[in-house]
Chain length 240, copies 2
C-alpha cells in the first residue's frame, strides 16, 4: 500500500482557498497538507470556516519557506498545471498520476501554485511530472479547490477498498425463478380469459414477449408479491 499523496500549496493567496482545498482533500481521505510561504501567514483565520469541518487537515498542515524544503522527503512529485511549452517535464493525466502514486513506495506529492498565477517554471522543475486534468479546450476554468478535488478523487478511485464504495449489496436479492413463473402463469390465465392471445398463431410470440419483459427487471420476492396484488386487483370489476 502506497502512502497517500501530500498536497503542497505553493504561495497560496486566500485563506478561504486553503480551507476549501483541505475540504476537497479530506473528502477523499487525504490528510497531509504542506504550505509553502502562504501569502497571509499561517494560521489564517479565514481557512477554518471554508474547510467545513476538515480542521484536522489544517491543524496538521506544516509550513515551509521554499518548495524544495517542502519536498525534501518526497520521492515522486507532480506539478498540477496546464501544459507549458517551455518546460520539458513530461505531462500526464490524472489516471497516470494516480497509477504512479499507487506504485510508488515512498512519499508522493502534488504541487499546486498560487490561485492567480499558477506554479513558476522553477517550481515545476522540482517535479518529475506535470499533471494536467483534460478539460474542455474552449473553456478551461478550474480553480484551486476543483483541481485538488479532481486529483484526490482520481487517487481515491484507484485506491480501491479504502473508502465506502457504493455497492449494490444491499439491494434485495432476485426472487427465485419459481416465483416469477407463478406470476407469469397467473397473468397468462387472466389474459387468456380476456381473449388476449389472439390470433392463435401469434400466441407463442406474445407469451415470449411477456416473459422477456417480466424477466428483465430481476425483481425481488417482495416486488413480485406486490405485482401479484396489482394483477389480481385489475382482474376485479371497478367499484361503484
Amino acid at each position: 500500500m502506497s502512502d497517500k499523496p501530500i498536497v503542497v500549496l505553493v504561495n497560496p493567496q486566500l485563506g478561504q482557498n486553503i480551507g476549501k482545498a483541505a475540504r476537497a482533500m479530506l473528502n477523499f481521505g487525504l490528510t497531509e497538507m504542506r504550505l509553502v510561504a502562504p501569502r497571509d501567514g499561517w494560521p489564517n483565520p479565514e481557512a477554518g470556516p471554508a474547510a467545513s469541518g476538515a480542521d484536522i487537515v489544517l491543524d496538521q498542515a506544516k509550513v515551509y519557506d521554499t518548495t524544495a524544503e517542502a519536498l525534501a522527503d518526497v520521492s515522486l512529485v507532480f506539478a498540477s498545471t496546464v501544459r507549458r511549452r517551455e518546460l520539458k517535464t513530461p505531462v500526464v493525466g490524472p489516471e497516470d498520476m494516480a497509477r504512479e502514486i499507487h506504485a510508488n513506495e515512498g512519499k508522493s506529492a502534488i504541487l499546486f501554485g498560487p490561485e492567480r498565477s499558477g506554479l513558476t517554471g522553477e517550481d515545476v522543475n522540482l517535479a518529475q511530472r506535470i499533471v494536467t486534468v483534460p478539460i474542455n479546450p474552449e473553456f478551461g476554468s478550474l480553480n484551486l479547490a476543483q483541481a485538488v478535488i479532481l486529483l484526490a478523487y482520481e487517487w481515491s478511485r484507484q485506491a480501491g477498498d479504502d473508502l465506502a464504495q457504493p455497492t449494490m449489496k444491499d439491494e434485495e436479492p432476485r426472487a427465485p425463478m419459481g416465483e416469477l413463473n407463478a406470476l407469469i402463469d397467473h397473468l397468462d390465465g387472466a389474459l387468456d380469459q380476456r381473449g388476449y392471445f389472439f390470433p392463435e398463431d401469434r400466441a407463442e410470440a406474445t407469451r415470449t414477449t411477456i416473459r422477456t419483459i417480466l424477466t428483465k427487471p430481476g425483481w425481488s420476492s417482495r416486488e413480485i408479491g406486490a405485482l401479484f396484488g396489482i394483477v389480481k386487483t385489475l382482474e376485479k370489476p371497478p367499484k361503484g
Copy 2:
C-alpha cells in the same frame, strides 16, 4: 456515440451555485442544464458572475415546474445523493454511471437536489439509479458544484474510450420517462377504481412501491406499449 448527460438541478437555492454548477459542467464539455422550480426564479443575476464565463450553459438552461416534466424525454436517470436506506433504488458509483450513460442510446440525465436538503424521496423515485461518489465515510462534504464536477469529470474520462467500450447496441433503447409515467398514471387510475389504495394512509407508500418496481427495469417503448395492452386487457371482464 451517446448523448451528453443533462444536468438537472431540482429546486436550486442560490443563483451563485447554479453558476458554479454551469462552470463545473462546461469544464468537461457538458452544456445542457435544466432547472426545476429554482427558488429565486430564473434568470438569476447572481448566476452569471459565478459561472466564470460559462454563460452558454446558463443562457440555454430551460426551466420546468416539476422534475417529472424535466425528465419527460430522458430515458436514463441518475439521482445524485447519498445512499438512503429507505429507498430501494439501486446505488452505483460514478464509473458505473458513466459507463451506463455512454451505453445508453437515448438521453441521460443526472439529478441534483437543493443545496441544503438534497433530493426528496419522490424525486429519487423518478431515477433508475442513485449515483453516489464514494467519499471518506468520516467526512463526507461535497457541495453541489463539487458533485457536478466529479460526475462530469468521470463522464468525460470515459468519453475518450467510446470505441473500446463493450456496447449494449442490440438492446432496445430505454423509453423516455414520459412514456413510463403515462403507464404508471393509467395503472394508478385503474387500481384506484378498484379500491387498491386502501387504507388511505398507506396510499403514498404503495404508489412509491409501484413506481420503484416499474422504474427498475428500464423498459423500451415497445415493452411499455405491450404492458399498456396487458393492463387494459386485465381491466376488461373475463369472456363468456
